[in-house]
Every structure is written in structure tokens, then in C-alpha cells.
């Protein structure tokens, strides 16, 4: 394996630069694109060992490489045909360093099973 060791990257054109730590600390450490209807199924993912269908509109992601603590950041979007503005909520008892419980909520505030359920997690891995 080859490895480039650097402290920062700088644009030749603009001169703007970013410390290399932004690349190692700033990227998503876990993400998933999932169908939450029917028999739930993952379309694609990274650093997820399993998903759990907890009940209507409730899901759990288990991480393969866990986080160093529960202090990571979650963002996500959720939708179904005919429904817009679905958002992701954090379930009770979550987040934990090993798992994330999430719900799919419509703009009206009710839970729904989404055809499109997208989550990404940024934070520091164990």
C-alpha cells in the first residue's frame, strides 16, 4: 500500500488550503440509503453491520466500527411517494457509540415508513 503523508492541501489557483485533518475527521464515517417499506432493505451503505426494523417508522443502525463516544452528528432525509419534507428524528435511548436509533417523521409530525431513508453520521471513530 502507498501512502502520501501531508499536513495540508492547497489550491494552485486560489491559494486556499485545508488541513489534512479535515479529510480524516470531516468525512462521513457511516452512511446508509435504505428502503424502509415492506421487508426493509439496504440499497447501499458504509460502516453499518446491520439494520433493525423496530416497528412502524422506527429503525436502528448498528455500526461495524463504533464511534469513540455518542457525541457524533447525524443528518438525514426521508421520503415516500406523495409525501414531502420527511425528516429524521433520534429515538429514545439513542445515540450510543455502537448504534443509532432513528425515526422517520412527516412534516405533519406523524411517523411513516419511507421508501427513501438516507442517513449520514460524522464523528470520531473508536
Amino acid at each position: 500500500m502507498s501512502r502520501i503523508v501531508i499536513d495540508s492541501l492547497q489550491s494552485q489557483t486560489t491559494g486556499s488550503f485545508a488541513d489534512a485533518i479535515y479529510l480524516t475527521k470531516g468525512v462521513s464515517k457511516s452512511w446508509i440509503n435504505m428502503n424502509g417499506t415492506g421487508t426493509i432493505a439496504t440499497r447501499d451503505s458504509m460502516n453499518v453491520s446491520s439494520t433493525v426494523d423496530v416497528g412502524v417508522a422506527l429503525f436502528q443502525l448498528n455500526f461495524t466500527n463504533t464511534f469513540i463516544s455518542e457525541n457524533y452528528a447525524v443528518s438525514g432525509i426521508t421520503s415516500s411517494p406523495g409525501l414531502t419534507n420527511g425528516y429524521v428524528s433520534i429515538s429514545a435511548g439513542s445515540p450510543q457509540s455502537t448504534l443509532l436509533g432513528v425515526g422517520s417523521v412527516s412534516s405533519a409530525g406523524s411517523g411513516f415508513d419511507p421508501t427513501q431513508f438516507h442517513i449520514q453520521v460524522k464523528g470520531i471513530l473508536a
Partner: protein, 137 residues
């Protein structure tokens, strides 16, 4: 030198095709008897890693890490990875990793609270999803 687990996952993502499991794991939590059955779905990318081998840590590493508090150093990203598993072995590994031990190890009641089933036995009609339980027949 052993690569960090996340590096191994990134390599795997580049080289392995995801594998959809033919199994699901149904489980109920004795601490939460009013909740519907939960259904664990193996992640396709994770299953590809499990079947390929030399990527995932032994499940005991997760158990040891579970005894540590947040911010304490964990061992599972750094220990020697294990070899290839069969799909059935991978499901057992996942049960021990992602389902609480009070369900797969400590439960002494008569009710069946854990079951591995073929995916085609799971209904795709979720109309009464919050009333689903494991059949005791």
C-alpha cells in the same frame, strides 16, 4: 502492521460486491414486552466482508469493548481480523454483536424470543407492523 478496521472497510467497499442475506433475525426484548418484534437485517456490505474474511474483528473484541466507557480506548478496530465465515456463521456473529446479551444469552423464560428465519417468511405488508410478535407454535 494491522490496518485500522475503518481502513479495511474502505478497502472492502472498493473491492467487494454487496451480498443480500437470505436470512432475517426476529427478536423480542424481555425488558420491553409491549413492543413489537424487532427484525435484524444483515447489511449487504458487512456480509460481503464477513464472507470474504480478514476484515472483521472477532466478536469477542466487541464484547470486551462493551465493558468500557465512552472515550476509553477500544480494541475492536485494532485486533487481528478473523477469517472467512459461512453465511450461517455470520448471522450468529451478528446476533452476538448487535442484539443485547439479555436476549441471546441470558433469557431463561419459556417464550421463544429469538428466531432466525428465511427472508421470504417476513411479510411485506406492514399494515399491522406494530402488532407483530414471534409465533409460539
Amino acid at each position: 502492521m494491522i490496518k485500522h478496521l475503518f481502513e479495511r472497510l474502505v478497502d472492502a467497499k472498493e473491492h467487494l460486491q454487496p451480498i443480500q442475506s437470505k436470512y432475517r433475525v426476529l427478536f423480542e426484548d424481555p425488558n420491553d414486552p409491549d413492543s413489537p418484534v424487532k427484525i435484524l437485517v444483515p447489511d449487504p456490505n458487512w456480509l460481503a466482508c464477513a464472507l470474504a474474511g480478514n476484515i472483521l474483528p472477532p466478536v469477542e473484541a466487541y464484547h470486551e469493548d462493551a465493558t468500557k466507557s465512552d472515550d476509553e480506548p477500544k480494541i475492536h478496530p485494532y485486533v487481528e481480523p478473523i477469517g472467512p465465515m459461512t453465511e450461517e456463521e455470520a448471522i450468529e456473529y451478528l446476533i452476538m454483536k448487535d442484539i443485547p446479551p439479555r436476549i441471546w444469552r441470558d433469557y431463561k423464560g419459556n417464550r421463544t424470543i429469538l428466531k432466525i428465519v428465511p427472508v421470504n417468511l417476513i411479510s411485506s405488508d406492514r399494515t399491522f407492523r406494530n402488532a407483530w410478535t414471534i409465533s409460539q407454535e
